[in-house]
């Protein structure tokens, strides 16, 4: 008993059964985790599992044996036997306490590892909203890359065929400690990367943190390809290896909670540095900035730009047209767009629920706002004909001659 306990306690420390010494996964996990903390946590889980199996088999074997051995025989009474035994009862109360103490201590040590980020961790900001994530890198850039997880686009993290919502891909440097400062824009969410074996709730009123130190991709990891299928290379001409890990929202947040996913793509540090520089808005035209913001802030999750139906109004040909709102028909000009982003519930587009999250000026600053407006203008045919000064007069009027042919309300006039 003592030996077994000391053996068990010896796994408490940071040195654990590393992935190398466990070549095959148990039934329980899809892999032994993408961080050392994950591997440690799996070791604790497996230890508890085998302790539990031991107890369970012991108890069930006794039960089955007693049921067979002492089955009822007609006319034969149950023999007298004591119904109380102090030393036995004390023993079976105290022995489990040793196991429970081990579990508590092991859990505590793993918990501290998972909760306390090292001082040199890179800090990034993560915002959650129904039903999307935005990650802001230290240089202010955000990842505009997204993918449709499904039959058409198989990812390494696992094949999937959910709805066609594009989910964000966050590039993360390998072999680097990363600390996320997380906050929600609406209801509660929870950030869970199963491969990291940790989740943390996200609240609308305070920050929570989440840290990890993902193992970097090695030569056995897949090679990143661009949209044409060619290998992506760094500036030095080296192929880029990567590892993908799914992000799931783990706190129920409404309608599309079950599609609130993301992908953490662990890449070499050099490639990460190049990527976030590429997404930096410095030196870009407003239209380019707008397109980046459209993708990185998650507008793309609900608003389409090709006129097709989404969970929210399309941006195609939005600018310069009159939209039906609960406050009456409104001309979609610069001020309408601005108002709809900072105070979305001021006017709600008819036929759509009030699901639009509130953005603050910290998330979308003036430069990005100008960019979004420029981007929406660039995909609207009326953009040139509706000068910024005109809307006050036009609002609420909805002159029929100002309407494009595609709106159904036009014949009413």
């Amino acid at each position: 008993m003592i030996e077994k306990l000391s053996q068990l306690v010896s796994t408490l420390g940071p040195t654990t059964l590393a992935a190398e010494s466990q070549p095959t996964y148990s039934w329980w996990f899809r892999n032994w985790g993408a961080t050392e903390n994950a591997t440690h946590s799996d070791t604790i889980f497996m230890n508890i599992w085998w302790i539990s199996v031991g107890w369970f088999v012991f108890l069930m074997a006794l039960m089955v044996y007693f049921v067979i051995r002492y089955r009822r025989r007609p006319g034969v009474p149950a023999p007298y036997s004591p119904s109380h035994n102090t030393s036995l009862e004390v023993a079976w109360t105290v022995i489990p306490c040793f196991f429970l103490t081990y579990m508590f201590l092991a859990g505590f040590s793993g918990y501290i590892e998972k909760m306390v980020a090292p001082g040199d961790a890179i800090e990034m900001n993560l915002t959650a909203k129904k039903w999307d994530w935005t990650l802001t890198y230290p240089n202010g850039a955000s990842s505009p890359e997204r993918t449709v997880v499904g039959a058409a686009a198989k990812t390494q993290a696992g094949d999937a065929t959910p709805g066609a919502r594009p989910i964000p891909i966050f590039y993360i440097p390998g072999d680097t400690s990363v600390k996320l400062k997380m906050v929600s824009q609406d209801v509660m969410h929870s950030f869970w990367v199963p491969d990291f074996r940790i989740k943390m709730d996200i609240f609308p009123n305070r920050y929570t943190t989440y840290w990890f130190h993902a193992k970097g991709p090695d030569q056995s990891s897949p090679v990143l390809k661009d949209s044409t299928g060619k290998d992506v290379t760094t500036a030095q001409g080296e192929k880029v290896h990567y590892n993908d890990h799914f992000i799931f929202c783990a706190e129920y947040c409404g309608d599309q909670h079950s599609e609130m996913w993301g992908i953490i793509r662990v890449v070499p540090r050099v490639y990460y540095a190049a990527k976030i520089e590429e997404w930096n808005i410095e030196g870009k035209t407003p239209e380019e900035i707008g397109k980046l913001v459209y993708q990185s802030q998650g507008c793309v999750a609900c608003h389409t730009v090709d006129g097709s139906k989404g969970a929210a109004p399309t941006w195609k040909d939005l600018f310069g047209n009159t939209v039906p709102t609960n406050a009456g028909p409104t001309l979609a000009d610069e001020n309408y767009i601005r108002e709809s982003i900072y105070t979305p519930n001021a006017k709600i587009h008819e036929g759509y629920p009030s699901n639009m999250p509130v953005f603050t000026t910290a998330q979308i600053d003036e430069r990005r706002m100008q960019g979004l407006i420029a981007y929406i203008k660039s995909i609207s045919s009326k953009a040139g004909t509706a000068p910024a000064a005109a809307p006050a007069a036009a609002a609420g009027q909805s002159p029929a001659d100002n309407k494009p042919a595609d709106t159904k309300e036009a014949p009413k006039k």
Binding site: S41, I44, I48, S52, L59, M60, L62, M63, F66, V67, Y70, R71, R72, G75, V76, P77, A78, P79, S81, S83, H84, W92, T93, L100, T101, F104, A106, G107, F108, S109, G110, Y111, M115, G158, D159, A160, T161, D186, V187, M188, S190, W192, P194, D195, K199, F203, P204, N205, F248, A250, Y252, C253, D255, Q256, S258, K309, A311, G351, Y352, P353
Partner: protein
């Protein structure tokens, strides 16, 4: 060791004419209905609770099958062609292919809203709306309307006065009121479902629950339903506490009470102490929703974590409201069907009280992923404390089997199934109390599997087992044990197929309350769904066995299993006033080695020779 059983049995013939069994109709069907609707007889109220609970179990079960069926495929399983809101015609896309409802997000809800409000169908929110409603429905019904009242309200009402040798509970009219309050609360919940359902999950976490479907009354109705059901719990609990204190038969000291009574007593204490907390919390939620008073919603200056604290301060103790009565039932079934004194009576009795006490100190373990480090550590340590009294009980039950005379009747099969399932449920809780592993497993399918093993494998399995144990007493009819055993076996297989797979889903990363998932998980979901249909089959077998018993079952003797507690001294079914004379307790509830069971011939029950050193 003669007890009053002989005198009770002796009176059966003579006194039957005035009164008779509580089931004897009072007249025509209208008279009978009015009689039942206005009855203050604890037995009738218990039976009415049983019928109501079984009906809600059916509703919740249908919702569960809807959820499981949807999860067969990673995307929508149930596909229905959408209707164009403008033309009312089936919708097709540009190429003439049919457009499914799931592609138009939220058309299910939209149609429901349109029907009720008469508004034009315009809503385009949410393809998962109906899935979210199905799992909320399942959770809310099973927790608030099935598991919480299952054993306490139905078996408890029927058995507590009988086991104590009393004529009725302490406050019979309050008892009837509790039933009507329960029905009223359930009607509120059903109304909420009929007008469109609730998509908050049974936990009603804020701020989602205070903002979703803001213009509709569904959530308020459902929360109000839960609020009202709480009062039913409080009143029943209060009634039972007073009954146990004041109405024990002469000669019955605290440690002569059956362990079922101990368990019910502990349960009632929790109900009286914890339910008011959820009551006021739900009221605050309604205030916030209707009058925008900021308590939990940060947009109004509130704190959502406060809601979680309030909610789990009730809902964790209530987990023991669900499981303690099951412990009580098992503590009855095992000794009776083994004809063996329970091992460690006092340990089992005090373990019930111990669990009730500790249950108030562990609510924080539902919030490891949201609370601060120090709080989480303290709650983790306290959580492991609960494991000890629970483990002790399991050891006691298994030790009771030792040197028994074990009859494998249907109730006994259920007790053994309980030991199997509940051991898994308890042991799989350990990685959830362990902080490091809980951060991974929290809100995953592992948790879903764990609490189904405890709540369903513990409480529902025991409820069904208890029904089989006391069915002859309640309705005076035996049932077909062969088919009942087949049913029990089917339920056992179906249960494990359904829920054991979900442990793997959880560790591999499947979150709770997901309608869509990555393809890797599909095989487990398919197995789990097959299991749920096996479970359905098992419960249907039980339903037919019970119905057959009521119609054509052979008449039950007063004491079919040879139990020693007082309810077995009464007739089957019991007379209206339970006993002809107030029983006097002369033997312990489990003295099988020194007492011939009431109504049994000593020739059929030879007492064992007592060793000299025994006292």
């Amino acid at each position: 060791m003669s007890t009053l059983d002989s005198s009770n049995a002796g009176h059966l013939g003579g006194h039957h004419a005035h009164g008779g069994s509580y089931l004897t109709p009072k007249g025509g069907w209208l008279t009978t209905v009015i009689d039942w609707a206005t009855t203050v007889d604890h037995k009738k109220i218990g039976v009415m609770y049983m019928v109501a609970v079984l009906f809600m179990f059916f509703l919740g079960g249908v919702a569960a099958l809807v959820v499981r069926t949807e999860l067969v495929t990673p995307v929508r399983t149930v596909e229905v062609q959408a209707t164009d809101p403008a033309t009312g015609q089936p919708m097709v896309d540009a190429e003439g292919k049919p457009v499914m409802k799931s592609e138009i997000r939220g058309q299910w809800l939209g149609e429901m809203k349109a029907k009720i409000t008469g508004q034009e169908l315009t809503s385009i929110d949410g393809g998962n709306n109906w899935y979210n409603r199905a799992f909320t429905l399942h959770g809310a019904i099973m927790v608030f309307m099935v598991i919480i009242p299952s054993i306490p309200a139905s078996l408890g009402n029927f058995l507590i006065p009988l086991m104590l040798g009393a004529k009725d509970v302490a406050f019979p009219r309050l008892n009837l009121l509790s039933w009507y309050v329960y029905v009223t609360g359930s009607i509120f919940a059903v109304c909420s479902i009929v007008i469109g359902g609730v998509d908050t999950g049974w936990t009603f976490y804020t701020p989602y629950s205070t903002t979703t479907d803001a213009e509709y009354a569904n959530v308020v109705l459902m929360v109000l339903g839960a609020f009202i059901l709480g009062f039913s719990s409080i009143l029943t609990g209060l009634n039972f506490v007073v009954t146990v204190h004041k109405l024990r038969a002469p000669g019955m000291g605290w440690f002569d009470m059956p362990l079922f009574i101990w368990a019910m007593y502990s349960t009632s204490l929790i109900q009286v102490l914890a339910t008011p907390v959820i009551g006021i919390t739900l009221l605050l939620l309604i205030f916030e929703r209707m009058f925008r008073i900021g308590i939990f919603d940060p947009a109004l200056g509130g704190d959502p974590v406060l809601y979680q604290h309030f909610f789990w301060f009730y809902s964790h103790p209530v987990v023991y409201v669900m499981i303690l009565p099951a412990f009580g039932v098992i503590s009855e079934i095992i000794p009776v069907h083994s004809h063996k004194k329970i091992f460690g009576y006092r340990a089992v009795a005090f373990a019930s009280l111990g669990v009730a006490l500790v249950s108030f100190l562990v609510w924080g373990h539902h919030m490891f992923a949201s609370s601060g480090e120090l709080a989480a550590t303290v709650f983790s340590a306290l959580t492991f404390l609960v494991a000890i009294p629970t483990a002790v009980k399991v050891f006691n039950w298994i030790a009771t089997l030792y040197k028994g005379s074990i009859a494998l009747t249907t109730p006994m099969w259920y007790a053994l199934i309980f030991l199997f399932l509940f051991s898994i449920g308890g042991l799989t809780g350990l990685p959830l109390g362990t902080l490091a592993t809980d951060l991974h497993l929290h809100d995953s399918y592992y948790v879903v599997a764990h609490f189904h093993y405890v709540m369903m494998g513990g409480t529902i399995i025991t409820f069904v087992g208890g029904l089989h144990h006391w069915w002859p007493k309640m309705f005076g009819r035996m049932y077909n044990q062969f088919w009942a055993n087949i049913g029990a076996f089917t339920v056992f297989i179906g249960f494990n197929v359904t829920f054991f797979t979900q442990f793997f889903l959880g560790t591999q990363g499947m979150p709770r309350r997901y309608a869509s998932y990555i393809d890797d998980y599909q095989i487990y979901h398919v197995i789990s769904t097959v299991g749920s249909y096996i479970l359905l089959l098992g419960f249907l077998i039980h339903l037919f066995v019970f119905l057959h018993s009521l119609v054509a079952g052979r008449k039950a003797p007063a004491n079919p299993w040879g139990g020693l507690t007082l309810e077995w001294e009464a007739a089957s079914p019991p007379d209206e006033h339970n006993f002809h004379h107030e029983p006097i307790v002369k033997h312990g509830p489990y003295d099988f080695d020194t007492t011939v069971p009431p109504h049994w011939d000593p020739k059929d029950y030879p007492l064992p020779a007592r060793p000299k050193h025994a006292h």
